[in-house]
């Protein structure tokens, strides 16, 4: 199978903008909202959404990043050593409406561990999930996103890869063959 692009940079920006406006619709004035990106690759999306939302609304929106590594359930079985990334939540999540942001929703296990990590920081009044790519029919846990950039039906032998302007030179979403040993 050849790698193929399913979202080019032009449509990518449209999708990003749409997600921002969806958040503006539901989160009102953002005074009680916090945006939290999930490490490692969800933070590229959360960075962009947070920046764009600040531009559109002109407001300061609480923003943090969270690393779910210590809460994962595949710690002993993962092929690679799971090494931690930075967590930075410099505000109280108590009674806040939190929007968790990740790039690709696949099994739901990362989101589960990110939620566990998040709840150790306090008791938010509400937690929602925003993802750029929702891979349908691949979930291993009962987790569904509240905001979706693009929904994809793909084979489990394939992998969805998101390129970011900041790190990969261009905004794109690819479907590529899975590497050996990958789910």
């Amino acid at each position: 199978m050849q790698p193929r692009i399913i979202l080019d940079s032009k449509r990518f920006l449209l999708t990003l903008n749409r997600l921002c406006f969806q958040l503006i619709e539901t989160q009102k004035d953002f005074s009680n909202t916090a945006i939290i990106g999930v490490q490692p690759r969800g933070i590229y999306l959360s960075d962009r959404i947070h920046k764009r939302l600040s531009e559109i609304t002109g407001k300061t929106i609480a923003y943090g990043i969270i690393d779910p590594t210590f809460y994962r359930d595949d710690y002993r079985t993962a092929e690679k050593q799971l090494t931690p990334k930075a967590t930075s939540i410099k505000f109280s999540t108590e009674n806040k409406s939190v929007v968790l942001i990740d790039d690709v929703l696949f099994s739901g296990r990362t989101v589960r561990s990110a939620m566990d990590a998040l709840l150790d920081f306090g008791r938010p009044s509400k937690v929602e999930l925003l993802v750029l790519v929702d891979r349908r029919f691949t979930r291993q846990l009962p987790i569904q996103p509240d905001y979706v950039g693009i929904t994809i039906d793909s084979l489990t032998s394939e992998r969805v890869k998101v390129d970011w302007d900041k790190v990969d030179g261009s905004d794109r979403i690819w479907i590529v063959p899975a590497k050996p040993n990958e789910p």
């Binding site: 210590f70 090494t83 150790d120």
Partner: protein
């Protein structure tokens, strides 16, 4: 980031520079965890760890136990006094009996140099050396270097003086290995009787004048005189040692530069270091203790996640 190259932490000698850097990067994140409202993560909730202490310890034992609890591991504490060791049980028998109760990792302090290495050849569980006689104390060296990195920005190229009883100190040996691997310049200083012969072969400078060592260094790691390990008298008296080799405020004021003051504890106040130095703003002795928990969490976490190959 890759996994550690070792299954046990027996000594810094067996680690690569990359291993040390992986441990530091993980410890950075654990330090963040320790400053959260809930200072605990569930990573090792399926792991049982035994702390085997055949020798006295305050800091190291509490620090390991806290690190284990912060990682949600189950812990068992063992001290040789009051155990069957007194009835003549061998080390391997003791440990195998404990492992038969499904224990996954062993943290061990032992008065005999090489005891953890010996044990690692006979059992399957991961072993962490918490100090073996006068040989190595790897987690102490890691937390010392981690504290230097935190305060001075990096370890590479920094000048570190280790002052005091080098001969009987496992902290000194592990520190030398660790700092050299990270690219620091290392000097040992103290009375000639307490500096082992041929120590230059480890790539360290030797100085018998503490003032000159202090003038040279960016950070001074001051070690305790280990009277309990000294089978003969190596210097005339503690008063004389304090006079000629102790670090005091007057000496530091005369040198007049900012030197990071470190001490692995326990401190003999008024002997190797005076109280006004140990409690001065340049002293990072309590930061070292704080970092110890994060470093030990990182070591336990990284070793427990290692896949068998």
């Amino acid at each position: 980031m890759n996994a550690l190259s070792v299954k046990h932490l027996l000594g810094i000698k067996y680690l690569t520079r990359e291993d040390i850097e992986i441990i530091f990067e993980s410890a950075d994140e654990f330090k963040e965890v320790l400053n959260r409202p809930i200072k605990k993560v569930p990573s090792l909730r399926d792991t049982t760890i035994v702390n085997l202490f055949f020798e006295n310890s305050t800091r190291t034992r509490i620090s390991f136990e806290l690190a284990e609890k912060r990682l949600s591991a189950d812990t068992i504490n063992f001290t040789s006094s009051g155990s069957s060791v007194k009835k003549g049980e061998t080390l391997i028998d003791t440990v195998n009996n404990i492992l038969a109760m499904k224990v996954d990792m062993v943290v061990m302090r032992h008065p005999s140099p090489g005891a953890p290495v010996f044990l690692s050849q006979h059992i399957n569980a991961s072993i962490i050396n918490a100090g073996d006689g006068t040989h190595e104390h790897p987690t102490q060296a890691l937390l010392d270097a981690f504290s230097i990195r935190e305060k001075l920005g990096k370890v590479e190229g920094k000048k570190i003086a280790i002052i005091g009883d080098i001969r009987h100190s496992r902290v000194a040996l592990s520190n030398i290995f660790c700092l050299k691997k990270l690219g620091a310049e290392v000097m040992v200083a103290g009375p000639p009787t307490l500096i082992p012969m041929y120590i230059e072969s480890l790539g360290v400078k030797v100085e018998y004048d503490v003032r000159k060592a202090l003038e040279w260094c960016d950070a001074a790691n001051i070690l305790r005189i280990q009277l309990e390990r000294q089978e003969i008298q190596y210097f005339a008296s503690l008063r004389e040692y304090a006079l000629y080799f102790g670090v005091n405020k007057k000496l530091l004021d005369e040198i007049g530069k900012d030197i990071l003051i470190m001490h692995p504890g326990p401190i003999n106040r008024g002997v190797e270091i005076t109280s006004d130095v140990a409690d001065s703003p340049n002293s990072i002795i309590l930061d070292q203790v704080e970092n110890g928990v994060a470093i030990r969490m990182a070591v336990l976490y990284l070793l427990s996640g290692r896949k068998e190959v």
